[in-house]
Symmetry: C7
Subunit: 72 residues, 7 copies
Amino acid sequence: MEKPLKLLHASLNNRVIVELRGGVEYQGVLDGYDVPHMNLVLKNADEIVHSDKKSKHDKVIVRGDNIIYISP
Amino acid sequence: MEKPLKLLHASLNNRVIVELRGGVEYQGVLDGYDVPHMNLVLKNADEIVHSDKKSKHDKVIVRGDNIIYISP
Amino acid sequence: MEKPLKLLHASLNNRVIVELRGGVEYQGVLDGYDVPHMNLVLKNADEIVHSDKKSKHDKVIVRGDNIIYISP
Amino acid sequence: MEKPLKLLHASLNNRVIVELRGGVEYQGVLDGYDVPHMNLVLKNADEIVHSDKKSKHDKVIVRGDNIIYISP
Amino acid sequence: MEKPLKLLHASLNNRVIVELRGGVEYQGVLDGYDVPHMNLVLKNADEIVHSDKKSKHDKVIVRGDNIIYISP
Amino acid sequence: MEKPLKLLHASLNNRVIVELRGGVEYQGVLDGYDVPHMNLVLKNADEIVHSDKKSKHDKVIVRGDNIIYISP
Amino acid sequence: MEKPLKLLHASLNNRVIVELRGGVEYQGVLDGYDVPHMNLVLKNADEIVHSDKKSKHDKVIVRGDNIIYISP
């Protein structure tokens, strides 16, 4: 069995896809997270809204509240 | 009586259907979960949006907040 | 006076109707629940979406968060 | 001053109107409740959706989360 | 400085306007409240939906969760 | 660094703009607040819905839950 | 690994983009925050609604609840 936080930790420094409520997606390198909120720090992140690349962020803090899934 | 978490535990390594709010569904092998949030780790997961297969994920962390049901 | 959890407990092994937010309904045999979340385990459950039978589940874990009512 | 829970307790065995989010209303005899969630048990309950009587329930557990008001 | 709960207490036995999410409003005499939920008891309450008087209640318990503002 | 609650406290007796979810705005003199909910008391408050002045309140208790921002 | 709150702290006195639910965005100098709510104080903030600059605020308290991401 692999616990969600263990997989999240193992994904540090890897590119992940983060899907949020409302059709917004981030793709970036996972640079950090906190517990238990699962807020994330992503580096070199693309924001994708309804499949269109909308903006680029060097770093971005994504609040865990709005996350649907994280795909390493 | 079978408690929800006992059934979830018994479903480890089996393929499950996870229905989320907003017409999104995951089908994958349950690889882990946490308590009490019911965040899940799925392997070989298909994401299905309004009955169309949208994407495949080797591994995905699904936040428990958005889960409507889990069907082993 | 009959407390909600006492009625829920008395409904074990009986067929119940579970109404969720968003026009989704489950009908199945109550096989388990937990406290205080009121997550449920249903057996032989029919999922009914806007009055149409959508799918059948041998067993399903329904998260308490989305439940509007449970009718034994 | 009359506290909400005292009025709720005084309404046991009386017919109450329970308005939920989403235009759903229950009318039934208050048979029980719990604290602090304000989950209710109603007997001989009518479910009324946008002013149309939809279904009748001998007993129903209504989750407090979705309640807007209770009118004794 | 006047704390919200102090003003609420000072409003007991006075007519108040209570605005809820979804365009629903109550006007009635504040008969009670609880802490910290801010559930209210209103007497002789009018329910007003999108500016139309919909119904009258001798007494009504309004859950604090849905309240946007209370105007003494 | 100026903490949010310190700025809120410093805004007492000043006119503030309070933006709520759903396109509703209040403009009034901040008369009080509580911690940690950030419920507010406003004096001489105008309620503005989608840019139209809707009503005036001598005093109003605004629940913190629905607040998006407070601008001193 | 860089924790979200450490990055937030490092962003003090820098211009940040704050995206809220509902298509509202703030751009301003981060002047403060609190833990664990992640309420923010922004200085010289522009409010941008669906890509149109709507208003300017010398200072604004943004509640953490509605924040989707913060981009330093």
